[in-house]
């Protein structure tokens, strides 16, 4: 649900990073935070456990610039990936404008990726959304590790519709901005269709 304010001339959009536990969602936001100019970002808020697992969400507001005199803001959220935080994940998806699915490329995490993707679809459906109709980008993260599945296999498993997809290494930042730009662009194009 974007928020268009004709009075203050602002557009706010919500992007949610989804994916299994430890796939690197929080790391994506941390990298974006680190590399963004101070005047373009707010605080990075992380509601996390003592072991730095996301407990409720991470939140990063970005003010990227202007389009036709409107200030464009993206609010980035991550969900907690651990299976038992299902209820929280549902809450965070409310009002989403665009989804990034961060997949963990390690072979032993393929099942977790698939489970998380199913969970995403179910949770979206509960709120009356369809993943097929939302701006949606995939990131195959942790490509730097030795035990990764071939991209081709991951595409078959996780990306049958062939949506935009980027290889990533969120700790060093590879693919992080490519992913964000891609989903943000889709969100704006979607808005254009409706207004």
């Amino acid at each position: 649900m974007s928020f268009i304010n004709y009075s203050s001339r602002e557009i706010n959009c919500k992007i949610v990073y989804y994916g299994p536990g430890l796939c690197g969602k929080t790391t994506n936001l941390q990298y974006v935070y680190k590399k963004t100019n101070p005047d373009q970002k707010g605080k990075l808020i992380s509601l996390a456990t003592e072991t730095e697992r996301t407990l409720f969400f991470d939140f990063l507001p970005l003010a990227l610039g202007d389009i036709k005199g409107f200030k464009v803001r993206f609010h980035l959220y991550t969900v907690p990936g651990q299976v038992f935080y299902a209820a929280s994940r549902k809450l965070i998806l409310k009002g989403v404008d665009g989804v990034v699915f961060v997949a963990d490329s390690q072979i032993e995490r393929m099942e977790a990726n698939m489970e998380s993707l199913d969970d995403l679809k179910i949770n979206l459906a509960e709120q009356g959304y369809e993943l097929e109709k939302l701006p949606y980008t995939i990131q195959f993260n942790k490509r730097d590790l030795p035990n990764v599945a071939p991209v081709e296999n991951m595409n078959k498993l996780l990306n049958p519709r062939n949506v935009p997809c980027f290889d990533g290494c969120a700790v060093t930042g590879i693919g992080v901005f490519e992913t964000l730009k891609n989903v943000a662009k889709q969100v704006l194009i979607e808005l254009k269709k409706h207004y």
């Binding site: 268009i4 009075s7 707010g42 939140f59 507001p61 009002g95 808005l191 207004y195």
Partner: protein, 164 residues
């Protein structure tokens, strides 16, 4: 996705702003602000310069969402008022018409009773204003936009420029 987009127009924004100003003065509060249920700040009044209102908006909405989740587990509809008491500052959070959240931060210059009373009055006014906004955007959906749309002529280049 556009079904529930919130569109704010000049006229209604002014009314909301006035209502918040009034509430701020009447309650002797430090800050008053209005947040959309998804965590986006709509308007504020008072001593906002020392407060990170964007973060506050997102956390307040998270708070309401979490307690709403608890309410449903218990078979309650929703807890429409939350109150947190601090050593110096207190925060009063209330749901308005299922769509927006009104937040009042106050200290000992005010009181919970006063805040409660005034929030109730303002809520009624705000529900009315948001009703107007909804009917207005529905009307525009049917008849087409009255105002210029910022998206009508948006180009790929405009979008790319955002990320330079």
């Amino acid at each position: 996705m556009s079904g529930s987009d919130l569109i704010m127009y000049e006229e209604e924004f002014k009314k909301i702003d006035e209502e918040l100003q009034k509430l701020y003065l009447q309650t002797n509060a430090k800050v008053v602000f209005l947040v959309d249920k998804n965590g986006q700040l709509i308007a504020s009044a008072g001593e906002t310069q020392d407060i990170d209102t964007t973060s506050l908006a997102s956390l307040t909405a998270g708070n309401i969402a979490a307690t709403g989740g608890i309410a449903r587990l218990l078979g309650e509809k929703e807890f429409s008022i939350l109150f947190h008491e601090g050593e110096k500052d207190n925060i009063h959070i209330s749901l308005i018409g299922q769509r927006v959240i009104l937040v009042v931060i106050f200290d000992k210059r005010s009181s919970l009773g006063l805040v409660r009373l005034r929030v109730k009055k303002s809520s009624e006014a705000l529900v009315g204003i948001f009703g107007d906004i909804t009917s207005k955007s529905e009307k525009e959906k049917v008849e087409g936009r009255l105002d210029e749309s910022p998206f009508a002529e948006i180009s790929d280049e405009d979008i790319d420029n955002l990320f330079r």
